[in-house]
Subunit: 206 residues, 2 copies
Amino acid sequence: MRISELSKRSGVSVATIKFYLREQLLPPGEAVAATQAEYGQAHLRRLRLIRALIGVRGLTVNATRQVLTAVSENEADLHQVLGLVLGVRPVDRDEQPDPEPDTSDADALVTQMGWQITQRSPARKVLTETLQTIRSLGADYDWRSLIPYAELAQQTAVLDLDQLDDTNDPLEQAERAILLTILLEPALLALRRLAQEHESARRYGS
Amino acid sequence: MRISELSKRSGVSVATIKFYLREQLLPPGEAVAATQAEYGQAHLRRLRLIRALIGVRGLTVNATRQVLTAVSENEADLHQVLGLVLGVRPVDRDEQPDPEPDTSDADALVTQMGWQITQRSPARKVLTETLQTIRSLGADYDWRSLIPYAELAQQTAVLDLDQLDDTNDPLEQAERAILLTILLEPALLALRRLAQEHESARRYGS
DNA sequence: ACAATTGGATACTGTCACTATCCAGATTAG
DNA sequence: CTAATCTGGATAGTGACAGTATCCAATTGT
């Protein structure tokens, strides 16, 4: 398969495919001549995954590369892959992470829930920052307010991980981990918004 | 309070405040002379809210303006405010929404759940698109797979709306609606990631 | 009186995800 | 065989977005 066919089958322009090759999101095809390379099904598959992560979930190119390399370098160890995939920062503005970001709210919550989590999970920072922001807006809100949410999150996580046991192929597990952890996120937020709308209609509706 | 004091108290640069004024995210101060205006507590409060929506949640300036005007124009009707806030598109690339976006997956799910939702909720489209993407990546996934998630989302929504009943002031309710629906989103995703990491450690951990 | 600050207009910057153009070599249609 | 097309690779340009920076004349504070 040459680049133009890859483009046709994926619906991604040749220029964009070249861009992904340059950015090392897509591995180069097998060079068959100085100006000719061959691409396979794996490329098509990966290209679709890239489009999903960037287009649907809105990951940056950098974050996407982190996810993809994490998966291809650690296919064997599902727990490791999950850790790496989960460790990808939702927004990675700063290059230098602060040596000691404040995570006190998250720490308290994690302890209370009895969760076993590495200290450097970016989610800790996100959680603490969001809570600080909400408090700075005058609401009376701390980690205790989130405990009911945390319990629902735990049930969600059980649902998620159950679906990884369906298959035994490590590569497929790794890819499914991406789908379930990252790609499902917009859908879960959409579900919450729909449920909120329903609940709002039920309580205050005309 | 003049603009420089507003800047100091909010931590937002004068240039950026001017930008928000230009973009009509922040209402103009009370003009006291040709080159002098007075800002009050409401401005400070709103400025912090703007920063939270743009900085923490990553809304665009346009989406932020939609949320803020929705709130200030419909303070009275909480259900209406919620509808407008929930209707803000997470990403608003296209100006012209397709006349008939495919929402079949979401429709089936909404019906199954017995939810009462307007047809034009953007969440329907997000949901359907995400499912289509996941399927195009080869996974066997449809709206039925989301039912357990939808039930958890419903419980989440109940938690959310319970917290709006704490106060009776419409303005405060509207602002709290923003905090709970929009600003809490990154925190909920962070909670899910933490729970996933814990569950992964529990199942496959060292 | 005079340096500093203000609101407002205009122009500029940096980032990001592409997109377009060129080029020499390779392939294919006639 | 040759002409039109396509290829991978390098380099430069685009458009959207969220700010920044600079100027200006009109106030202020001191």
